[in-house]
């Protein structure tokens, strides 16, 4: 009995110890520091600053969600009602942004609409202007547009699926009873879609509420959300108690939204099975419908394809001569920005050539893949055959999903700063500090990736019915042969997919990296952030080049994930 119990515990030792030390303990530190915070001990300004920050966080999230809903509903209508050439491609295009790193998205918008972006450069040469005519970066519009770009796919998928499977007899009945198309939409279609619209909007709101990279990179210094304020308080003000308080507010809000969402989704999914989706599909028939379809597709391409295309093109086009400002030499193809990545121009000790950032990022990502698979495999195989212990542990494992990566970074700073100082650990060299330890970031990335990795491995393991193993045994396969021929071929796809997921997450992760990556160990996202915020055409170009590289590597990762994904998994 005891041996059996121990055997059930065994797979949990490593994952639980890991998450305990690198997730729950740092979180507790934040909670205790944040909840002991008192406003009397600090300046009264802090209070109003927090109110302002929370207010703006909600404000921009509401605006973003509204705009996302608007575009998302239009495109959901398009995809759920019309059949047209290259439809799958267009659909995939709307889904790409959701998986791109924030720095890439920010760089893409800068390449299109920034002061050195295509639009401004084009207008300047067309109208012979000295200054860029469009101010985009640093405005609320930049934030909103990026959020729409990011999250429309959620509305398109959730509402689009519901819309496509809506029984057309309801609308037919309404029309035959004398309702105009608009009344039919208002009184029949919309109420039937309301649950999915609400669920999708809530999810979009949650993402907009916790947005970080987009605000920091595109909003400039004027706009501060909770996440950005945690970063500012931690890194610039060095006021860790205030940062912790903000983290607690952030965690509580996320928790409340998540509870509402999961409760709501539970009730929604209980409302009967819809019909097969394609029954509502038709080719655009008359001129009006054609104009509608073409117009919407044009919108789609402008919003989703242009930023993605602008970035790589901008990274190989040069408009300025040398390092001087805005002396136009006309556009020319160049690989200068890429070449420059390998050169230490400033020949300073603290300057790290950007290609080293790529090397660091790849190394961290590889380590994240290794660690998350190492910890994920035993956990997933135990979860695939759940006992009482597993029912308990399962929700705990998913908790890291609820904490933002900025909060995680703050937790690490609180926990590991001086955790290994020489007074406690005599045998370590006195200069050793776990915070400067370059492996802390891949550990943070593993914490973030682990829930996804466990879920996708577990999903694959569950699909193997015991009958397959029995069939193999009866056909003469030993335990090892069964694992090799039955279990592994089925799990291997999920393993590669989970690994690619961990890799992509680590490569593009910006929140924790902005707090934890040391100047001498930059990652691609932190290096892009740094180069984007520095003046000069060469810095800008290098940021473009790095963001392009990051985009392509992540693109390959996304492709692998999508190709190997089990049907039906990975939905919201």
């Amino acid at each position: 009995m005891i041996i059996k119990g121990l055997r059930r515990l065994l797979p949990w030792l490593a994952p639980v110890a890991f998450l305990g030390l690198f997730f729950f303990y740092p979180l507790l530190r934040i909670l205790s520091l944040g909840s002991n915070f008192s406003f009397t001990s600090s300046s009264p300004n802090i209070f109003f600053r927090i109110i302002n920050v929370v207010g703006f966080t909600f404000y921009q999230a509401f605006l973003s969600t509204g705009l996302t809903l608007l575009l998302g509903l239009l495109l959901a209508y398009l995809f759920s009602h019309f059949d047209f050439p290259l439809k799958r491609l267009f659909q995939a295009l709307t889904a790409i942004p959701f998986m791109l790193p924030t720095v890439v998205v920010a760089a893409g918008f800068t390449a299109l609409l920034g002061p050195r972006g295509w639009l401004n450069l084009g207008l300047m040469s067309l109208l012979n202007l000295e200054q860029p005519p469009i101010i985009f970066v640093g405005t609320l519009w930049a934030i909103l547009l990026a959020h729409v770009f990011y999250n429309s796919t959620i509305i398109i998928r959730i509402v689009g699926n519901a819309w496509a499977s809506l029984d057309t007899r309801f609308t037919d009945a309404a029309r035959s009873l004398g309702a105009s198309p608009f009344r039919t939409f208002l009184n029949v279609t919309l109420p039937l879609l309301r649950p999915s619209i609400f669920a999708a909007s809530l999810l979009v709101f949650l993402f907009d509420f916790t947005s970080y990279g987009v605000i920091l990179l595109l909003g400039g210094s004027k706009f501060v959300t909770l996440e950005v304020e945690i970063f500012i308080q931690t890194m610039h003000m060095l006021n860790l108690p205030v940062a912790s308080l903000l983290s607690v507010i952030q965690l509580l809000s996320t928790l409340i939204f998540s509870i509402i969402y999961s409760r709501y989704v539970l009730t929604v999914t209980n409302i009967g099975k819809p019909r097969v989706g394609w029954l509502n599909l038709r080719k655009p028939g008359n001129i009006k419908q054609r104009i509608l379809v073409i117009g919407l597709l044009l919108c789609l391409v402008i919003i989703f394809a242009l930023p993605i295309l602008a970035l790589p093109l901008r990274s190989i086009s040069r408009f300025e001569a040398g390092r001087a400002e805005f002396i136009r030499v006309g556009p020319a193809l160049t690989l200068d920005y890429y070449r420059e990545l390998f050169i230490n121009r400033q020949s300073s000790l603290f300057y790290v050539p950007p290609f080293l950032a790529a090397r660091n990022s790849l190394f961290y990502a590889a380590l994240t893949v290794f660690l998350s698979l190492l910890l994920g495999f035993p956990a997933a195989s135990a979860l695939a055959r759940p006992g009482r212990l597993e029912k308990w542990i399962d929700p705990l494992l998913m908790l890291p999903l609820g904490a933002s990566s900025v909060t995680l970074g703050l937790g690490y700073i609180l926990t590991f700063n001086g955790f290994l100082n020489p007074e406690r650990w005599q045998f370590l060299p006195s200069s050793f500090n776990l915070l400067t330890f370059p492996l802390l970031l891949p550990i943070a990335h593993t914490t973030i990736a682990l829930p996804f990795v466990i879920r996708s491995l577990q999903a694959a393991m569950i699909t193997i019915p015991n009958r397959y193993r029995e069939a193999a045994a009866v056909l003469g396969a030993s335990h090892w042969q069964t694992w090799k021929n039955i279990d592994w071929p089925i799990i291997s796809r999920a393993t590669i997919s989970a690994g690619a997921f961990a890799f992509t997450i680590s490569l593009g992760e910006f929140g924790a990296a902005s707090l934890l990556a040391r100047p001498d160990y930059p990652t691609l996202p932190t290096a892009i952030y740094r180069f984007l915020s520095q003046p000069g055409g060469m810095n800008y170009g290098q940021a473009m080049a790095m963001a392009t590289m990051l985009m392509f590597i992540c693109g390959v990762g996304i492709l692998i994930i999508e190709q190997l994904r089990l049907p039906g998994t990975g939905e919201f």
Binding site: A471, A473, V474, G476, Q481, T482, I490
Partner: protein
């Protein structure tokens, strides 16, 4: 049972969730024989197969193969074929690879594997399907692939667990004949599990009836059909109408009338009679009476349903709603 038994199942006991499932099951299989385990769902039929295959261990009892106990032999060393209820075809392998799996486990040479798989594909009419994905096959095609996979390693014994259970009626009737032919030509001894007596009668040399964890009756299909050992067997096989009655000097008095059948038992005895379905409508005489509530034309004859729940086949259709007198042609005492 004729011939020397190659498989003996001795006194199997097994509990499931604290309830006894098998209460001392024994039977044997002779070379080349197809036996059928017939019983309602939950009677433990599949568990018996799983014990023989080595996928489950009985609490007591033994499985003996050519005189040697198999209890300590793991499933993969028994060389028995088992065809699963829903086939358990490996979804990540195509038809050919599924069928070749057992041969690969026995480390056959690639060329030999190809020859054998081609042969089995031919036997099961699947030749053109070799490179198809198993997930794209219809139910009937999957069933044949599962059979081919089980047959390919030339198992000493083939076990089929409700192989037609997942298919619709029309398909089942076609496939059962095909299955019968394949089992016959391959000559492999087989144990066939089903709950459908029609399937059992079609395919089995010997039928073993299971009820409540015990073997109730074993014998050839005609024997079981002609002489069911008790009323449960007669009822389960749908052999006719069961009716209880009291022995009198004139015959057996039942609640539906007097049946002129001489039991040879002393008057006053309570008996159960099996009244086979064939009957004649008569005008007079001491006989069964009933009111017709339904008549179904079946080509050769009519099946009539009486209000008391009994049904008979008659040559001429009576009117629905009319009380009739029936002479039952075949009566047995159980």
């Amino acid at each position: 049972m004729e011939g020397n038994p190659i498989l003996e199942v001795n006194d199997l006991f097994k509990t499931y969730d604290g309830q006894p499932l098998l209460k001392g099951i024994s039977f044997s299989v002779a070379a080349g024989q197809t036996i059928c385990l017939l019983g309602s769902s939950g009677s433990g039929k599949s568990t018996i197969l799983r014990i023989i295959a080595g996928l489950e261990v009985p609490e007591s009892g033994d499985v003996v193969w050519h005189g040697r106990s198999l209890i300590d032999v793991p499933a993969h060393q028994r060389n028995f074929g088992l065809m699963f209820q829903d086939y358990a075809l490996f979804p990540h392998m195509d038809v050919f690879e599924n069928i070749a799996f057992g041969l690969r486990m026995q480390k056959w040479a690639a060329k030999e594997i190809r020859l054998r798989v081609d042969e089995v594909l031919g036997q099961t009419n699947l030749t053109s399907f070799a490179r198809r994905k198993v997930t794209e096959l219809s139910g009937g095609e999957q069933q044949r692939v599962a059979l081919a996979r089980a047959l390919a390693p030339r198992p000493g014994l083939l076990m089929l667990d409700e192989p037609l259970g997942a298919l619709d009626r029309a398909l089942r009737e076609n496939l059962i004949e095909e299955l019968r032919g394949i089992l016959h030509t391959s000559g492999v001894p087989a144990i066939y599990v089903t709950h459908d007596q029609q399937e059992a009668f079609t395919i089995a040399d010997t039928i073993i009836l299971l009820h409540d964890g015990c073997v109730i009756q074993a014998g050839s299909a005609p024997d079981v059909f002609a002489e069911p050992v008790d009323s449960w067997v007669a009822g389960f096989l749908g052999l006719g109408n069961l009716i209880e009655g009291l022995v009198t000097p004139l015959g057996v008095e039942t609640k539906s009338g007097l049946i002129p059948y001489q039991t040879g038992l002393p008057p006053g005895e309570r008996v159960t009679l099996l009244l086979r379905a064939q009957a004649e409508v008569v005008e007079t005489g001491e006989t069964l009476v009933g009111k017709v509530c339904d008549v179904v034309f079946r080509g050769q004859d009519f099946r009539i349903q009486l209000e008391n729940g009994m049904h008979y086949t008659v040559a001429k259709a009576p009117e629905v709603g009319k009380s009739i007198k029936l002479k039952v042609l075949n009566v047995e005492i159980l």
